[in-house]
Amino acid sequence: MEQSGSNRLLLIEKVLILKSLNLFKDTPENILADLAPLMKEKEYEEGTVIFKEGETGDCMYIIHHGNIRINKAETTLAILKEKEVFGELSLLDADTRSATAIAHSDCFLFKIDQEPFYELMDERPEVAKGFIKILCQRLRAMNEKRVS
C-alpha cells in the first residue's frame, strides 16, 4: 500500500542523497539542489506493485530504504537495494516500462515526476546540461564497452 513519507527530509539532505547515487556522483551539488525539491517521498509496504510492465513510464524512483524486486513476466531480473535507482529513463522519455517493480520489503522511495522535471530543465538549463552530461558519459561507456 502506498503512503506519503512522514519524517520529512531537508532539501539539503535530499541533495546529499542524490549525490550519493551513482547516477549523480559527478553532478555538482548546486545543480542537484534544483532537482531536490522535485523528490517526493513515498512509502510502500512489502509486496506493493510500484509499476507494471507495459505501463507508460513518467517518473523515476530512488530507493532510500528497503529493496525493490524487478520482474519480467514471472522471472526476477534483479533485487535493487538502497541508493539504487530505477525507471530513470522515464524521466526523459515517456515509454512503456520494460519490467514490473515490486516492493520486496517495506520501502521508502523518492519519486521524481517527468513533467516537473521538464519544467525545471526549461527553467534551469544547467540541470539539462547536467543530465546531458550523464547521458553522454553512459553512451561513451557503452561505446567503449562495445569496442573493447
Binding site: L11, I12, P28, N30, A33, D122
Partner: protein
C-alpha cells in the same frame, strides 16, 4: 624544512613528482657516465692513431649508423612497451661497450678506431631516444617546462665525472681500460629503469603499433619518411630546426678540436685539454640547468629561450669575422672560437635541449614520439652527413687554413637557425590550440561569372537535390542581376515546395519584379498550403493596384486571410497598411476568441517589421491568448508594450525572457530600467543580466558596463554576459577587466585557504569543502570569461574546454595557452590557483599574492560565507554553511540566519529555519 623539501623548492619540483624525477635523474646520470667513459676511450684511441682532420670521416660514418639506430628504435617502439624497449637499449649499449673492449685485441685495423669513435654517437643517440621517450610520456607540457632541465641534468654531472676521472687516469691506465667503468655504469642505470616501470606510469603506455604497422604496410622507405614529415607542421619545423642546430654543433666541434690540435702538438696533451674543456663546460651547464633553466623558460617563454643560443653564437661569430678580417689576430680568434664552442655547448645542454623537448609536448603522445624519432633518428644523421660532406669539401677546396671559411658557413647556418625558430614558435602555438579541441570549420564561396558556370548552375538546378538547389539560391542572392533573376524565376517551377518558398522569400526581400504571373499561378493552384500562403502574402504586400488584396482578405480560408492581411501590413503603401490595421483592430477587440487568435496569427507574421498600436490589449487577456500575445512580440515592438511585458516576468518567466530576447536591442533600455527599479528578484536579475549578453551589440555592452560600474558585486554575472555578447575589450576597458580578474583570483585564493583549513576535518565538513570547490570552479569560469573578453573568445573557449575535460594533458595545454596569452602576473596566479597539484603546494606558492591569514575557527569561515565575503556565494554554499553550523553546534550570528529565513530560495529558507532551531 627538510633537505628534500629544500631541494624540491630549489629545483622547482612538486612533492608528487619527486620520486619519478629522481629516478629519471639517476637513470640519465648512470647512462651519461658510461657514455662519457666510452667517449674518453674511443676519442683518445682515435687521436693516438689518426690526425684530427680524419674526424671528418668519423662524422660521415656516424651518419648511416645513426640513421639505422633511429630506424630500429622506431621499429622497437611499434612492437614493444617503452619499459621493455628501454631495458633492451641498455642491454645493447652495455654489450656493445664490452664488445669493443674484447674486439680491440683481435681487430686492430684502422677502421676499428673510426667505427669505435662513430659508435660513441650511436650510444649517445640510443641513450637519448630511450630516456626522452620515457620522460615525454611521463610529463605534460607544463611539467616538462619545469622538469626537463632538472631530469636531463643527470647527464651533465655524469659527463663531468666521466671526463674528470678520465683526465686523471687515462695517462696511467690507458684509454682502453675506461671501457670497464663505461660498461659498469651503463648496467648501473638498469635498476632505475625497473623502478620507474614498477610505478606503472610507463607501463600504461602501449606500443604505438596500430597506425604505424598499417603505414609500414602501405608505404615503405622514402614514402614513409616523407609521410612522417607531412604529418604535422610542428614536426616539420622542429625537424628543420634540429637539423640546423646539429649541423652547427658538429661543424663547431670539429673546428674547435682542429684548432686545439694545432695548439697542442702532442696528442695526449690535446686530449687532456679537450677533456678539461668538456668537464668544465659540463659543470657550468649543470649549474645553469638546475637552477636557472626551468625558471628562465617560465619567465621568458619558449620562443625567447630558443633564441638565446643562436644569438650568442651569432654574436661570437661576428666578432671572430670582424677581428680576423680587420686585425688578423690569431689568439683573439682562437679564444673567441673557444668561447663560442664552450658557450654553445653549455647553452645547448642547459637551455636548448630542454626547451626543444618542451616544444614537442603539445603533440599527442604518438606524434610526440614520432617527432622525437625524426629529430634524433633522422635529422641528426642528416646533419652529420651534411656537416661531414661540407667539411670535406672545405678541406679539399680551402684546406681550412683559417677559421674564417668555417665561420662564414656557420654564420649562414645560424641565420637559418634563427629564422626556423620563428616557424617553430608559430607551429607550436597553432598546435597548442589544436590539441585542446579539434574542431574545424570551412566556408565555400560561389560566384556567377561566365557562360560555362551558368550552364553548370542550370544543370544543377534541373538535376540537383533540394539542398543543392537551395545552396544555389543562396549563392544567387549574393548578387542580383538580370541573369540571376532568370535563374531565380526558374526555381519557382522546381518540384520542391521548400525551394519554391525559399525563392518566394528571396523575391520578396530583394523586391524583384517580373515574377507576378508565376506567383499568381502558385497562389491559386499550388497544392501546398504553405506555398499558397507565402505567395498570397507577397502578392498582397506588393499589390499597388489592389488586384489581389480585396480578393484574398475576403477569402473564407483563415490562413489565406492571415497571409493577405499580414502582407498588407508589410506594404509600403500607407493606405494599404491602414486598411489592414482596421481589420486587425476589429479582430483584437472582438468578443470572439477565434478572431483574437487570427489577430495573433497575423501579428506573429509581421512581428519584426510592424507593431500594432492595440497589441497591448491582448496582454490583458487570460490564458493561452495572453501567453501567445507575449510570444508574438518581436523586433518591431514599441516601448510601452515591452515595459508592460517585462513586468510579467514573475508570472511567465520563460516566455518573457524569450520575448525580450526576440525584441533585441529595443529591450536593452527596458531591462536596464527594470534591474534598477528594485522590483527585480535575485533569480530574475541573473536571467536578465545574462539576457543582455545574449542580445549583444554595442548598446548591450554599454548597458553591461553601466551595471558593472553601479553594481560591482554583480561582476561575475556581468563578466559571463559580456563574454556571451562576444565583447572585446578596448584599451580603456582592458585595464578594468584585468583588475576584476585580479580581484577574482584573490577571492579564489581566499577560498583555497578556507579549503586548506578545513582539510584536516574532512569527514565533518565534506559538504562545505565540496561547495567551496564549486565556488572555485565558478570563479575560474568568471576569470576565463574576462580573459575571453580581454584577449580572444575562441582561444578561451578552448581553454575552458581543456580545463573541463579534467585530463592532465588538456589542463596543461590550456594553462600553457593562458601563460602565453594573458598578462604575466594574472597567468601565473591563475595557473598556481588551478594547477592540479596538492592544495598545500598551491597555497604555498600563492602566499606571495595573499598572505595566508590564520583562521582560528570554522565559525569564521561560515561567517565569511554567510556575510558574502569576499564575494557573493552560491545558494548551495550558504545552505551548506547553515546546515553544518547546526549539525556540529557551531556558534554563528543568529541575525545572519534570519536574513535567509525569508529568502526567495527554498533551500536557503528551509535550511535557515532548521539552523535557527534551538537544540
Amino acid at each position: 624544512m627538510t633537505i628534500q623539501s629544500r631541494l624540491q623548492h630549489l629545483f622547482n619540483v612538486r612533492k608528487a613528482e619527486w620520486s619519478v624525477v629522481t629516478r629519471l635523474f639517476w637513470l640519465q646520470f648512470f647512462q651519461g657516465t658510461g657514455i662519457a667513459f666510452f667517449f674518453t676511450a674511443s676519442f683518445s684511441r682515435f687521436l693516438e692513431k689518426n690526425p684530427a682532420s680524419e674526424l671528418v670521416w668519423v662524422i660521415i660514418i656516424s651518419s648511416p649508423l645513426l640513421f639505422i639506430t633511429g630506424w630500429l628504435f622506431n621499429k622497437g617502439e611499434q612492437k614493444l612497451k617503452l619499459s621493455k624497449l628501454g631495458a633492451l637499449s641498455i642491454i645493447i649499449m652495455a654489450a656493445s661497450i664490452i664488445f669493443f673492449h674484447f674486439a680491440s685485441n683481435s681487430l686492430n685495423g684502422g677502421w676499428y678506431y673510426y667505427l669505435m669513435f662513430a659508435w660513441y654517437y650511436v650510444l649517445y643517440l640510443l641513450s637519448n631516444l630511450g630516456f626522452w621517450s620515457i620522460a615525454s610520456e611521463l610529463f605534460d607540457v607544463r611539467q616538462s617546462k619545469r622538469l626537463f632541465s632538472v631530469i636531463s641534468a643527470g647527464d651533465i654531472p655524469a659527463k663531468f665525472i666521466g671526463y674528470t676521472i678520465a683526465y686523471f687516469f687515462v695517462k696511467t691506465v690507458g684509454p682502453l681500460s675506461m671501457l670497464w667503468p663505461a660498461f659498469i655504469f651503463m648496467l648501473g642505470s638498469f635498476p632505475f629503469l625497473i623502478n620507474l616501470s614498477k610505478t606503472g606510469e610507463i607501463h600504461s603506455h602501449s606500443p604505438h603499433h596500430h597506425s604505424d604497422s598499417l603505414d609500414v604496410k602501405l608505404e615503405r622507405g622514402i614514402k614513409q619518411l616523407i609521410k612522417k614529415f607531412t604529418v604535422n607542421r610542428l614536426i616539420r619545423s622542429i625537424a628543420l630546426l634540429s637539423f640546423l642546430i646539429s649541423s652547427c654543433l658538429v661543424i663547431l666541434n670539429f673546428a674547435f678540436y682542429k684548432e686545439i690540435k694545432e695548439g697542442h702538438h702532442h696528442d695526449k696533451s690535446m686530449s687532456n685539454f679537450i677533456l678539461l674543456f668538456l668537464a668544465s663546460s659540463q659543470i657550468i651547464a649543470l649549474i645553469v640547468k638546475l637552477i636557472f633553466t626551468g625558471r628562465l623558460i617560465g619567465s621568458m617563454g619558449i620562443k625567447k629561450a630558443l633564441y638565446i643560443t643562436p644569438l650568442v653564437l651569432l654574436a661570437l661569430l661576428s666578432i671572430i669575422i670582424i677581428v680576423e678580417t680587420t686585425m688578423g689576430a690569431n689568439n683573439i680568434v682562437f679564444y673567441t672560437f673557444g668561447a663560442a664552442a664552450i658557450g654553445v655547448e653549455i647553452l645547448r645542454n642547459a637551455i636548448n635541449s630542454p626547451v626543444f623537448l618542451t616544444v614537442m609536448q603539445p603533440l599527442i603522445p604518438h606524434e610526440r614520439t614520432k617527432a622525437h624519432n625524426i629529430v634524433k633518428g633522422i635529422m641528426d644523421p642528416f646533419a652529420f652527413l651534411f656537416s661531414g660532406v661540407l667539411l670535406l669539401l672545405l678541406l679539399k677546396v680551402h684546406n681550412i687554413s683559417t677559421l674564417l671559411t668555417i665561420c662564414y658557413a656557420l654564420l649562414l647556418i645560424t641565420i637559418f637557425w634563427l629564422l626556423s625558430i620563428k616557424w617553430v614558435d608559430k607551429a607550436y602555438r597553432e598546435n597548442l590550440i589544436k590539441t585542446i579541441s579539434s574542431r574545424f570549420f570551412s566556408q565555400d564561396e560561389f560566384s556567377l561569372s561566365n557562360d560555362d558556370i551558368l550552364k553548370q548552375i542550370q544543370k544543377k538546378i534541373a538535376a540537383g537535390n533540394e539542398l543543392e538547389v537551395i545552396n544555389i539560391l543562396q549563392m544567387l542572392n549574393t548578387r542580383i542581376t538580370s541573369v540571376s533573376n532568370e535563374l531565380i524565376f526558374s526555381l519557382l517551377d522546381h518540384p520542391s515546395d521548400k525551394v519554391k518558398i525559399e525563392t518566394i522569400h528571396l523575391i520578396d526581400s530583394n523586391n524583384i519584379k517580373g515574377a507576378e504571373e508565376k506567383l499568381e499561378v502558385l497562389a491559386y493552384h499550388s497544392p501546398s498550403k504553405e506555398v499558397r500562403f507565402y505567395t498570397v502574402q507577397i502578392l498582397c504586400k506588393h499589390d499597388n493596384h489592389q488586384k489581389f488584396q480585396k480578393h484574398f482578405i475576403d477569402n473564407t480560408d483563415l490562413e489565406i486571410k492571415t497571409a493577405a492581411l499580414s502582407g498588407m501590413l508589410l506594404s509600403k503603401n500607407q493606405s494599404t497598411v491602414l486598411e489592414a490595421e482596421k481589420i486587425v483592430s476589429s479582430y483584437i477587440n472582438s468578443q470572439d476568441d477565434q478572431n483574437k487568435k487570427t489577430a495573433i496569427n497575423i501579428l506573429n507574421e509581421v512581428k519584426d517589421s510592424y507593431c500594432h498600436s492595440e497589441h497591448l490589449q491582448l496582454l490583458f487577456e487570460a490564458g493561452e491568448i495572453k501567453s501567445s500575445a507575449i510570444r508574438i512580440i518581436g523586433k518591431a515592438a514599441n516601448t510601452e508594450l515591452l515595459n508592460f511585458t517585462i513586468k510579467l516576468i514573475n508570472e511567465h518567466r520563460r516566455i518573457v525572457l524569450d520575448t525580450l530576447q526576440a525584441a533585441g536591442e529595443k529591450s536593452i533600455s527596458i531591462i536596464q530600467s527594470y534591474l534598477q527599479s528594485g522590483e527585480c528578484t535575485m533569480a530574475n536579475k541573473e536571467k536578465l543580466i545574462l539576457l543582455l549578453g545574449k542580445i549583444g551589440g554595442a548598446q548591450s555592452h554599454k548597458a553591461l558596463f553601466n551595471l558593472l560600474n553601479q553594481h560591482p558585486k554583480d561582476a561575475a554575472l556581468i563578466a559571463k554576459a559580456l563574454l556571451r555578447s562576444k565583447y572585446h575589450s578596448t584599451h580603456e576597458t582592458q585595464k578594468q577587466l584585468e583588475e576584476i580578474a585580479y580581484e577574482f583570483i584573490i577571492y579564489g585564493v581566499e577560498l583555497l585557504y578556507m579549503q586548506k583549513f578545513l582539510q584536516p576535518y574532512h569527514k565533518e565538513y565534506k559538504i562545505l569543502i565540496s561547495s567551496l570547490n564549486i565556488e572555485l570552479m565558478e570563479i575560474r569560469n568568471v576569470i576565463l570569461s574576462l580573459f575571453g573578453c580581454i584577449y580572444d573568445h575562441n582561444k578561451f573557449f578552448k581553454v575552458r574546454q581543456g580545463l573541463d575535460m579534467e585530463k592532465k594533458e588538456t589542463i596543461a595545454n590550456a594553462m600553457e595557452v593562458i601563460e602565453m596569452t594573458v598578462r604575466k602576473d594574472l597567468a601565473l596566479h591563475f595557473n598556481n590557483l588551478y594547477e592540479s597539484t596538492d592544495i598545500d603546494h598551491r597555497c604555498l606558492v600563492l602566499k606571495n599574492l595573499l598572505p595566508e591569514s590564520t583562521i582560528p575557527q570554522v565559525e569564521e569561515i561560515l561567517l565569511s560565507i554567510l556575510s558574502e565575503k569576499p564575494v557573493g556565494y552560491n545558494t548551495w554554499t550558504k545552505a551548506c554553511s547553515m546546515y553544518v553550523s547546526k549539525k556540529y553546534h557551531l556558534k554563528i550570528n543568529r541575525d545572519l540566519l534570519k536574513n535567509f529565513s525569508g529568502s526567495e530560495s527554498l533551500i536557503l529558507q528551509e535550511t535557515a529555519r532548521y539552523a535557527e532551531l534551538i537544540d
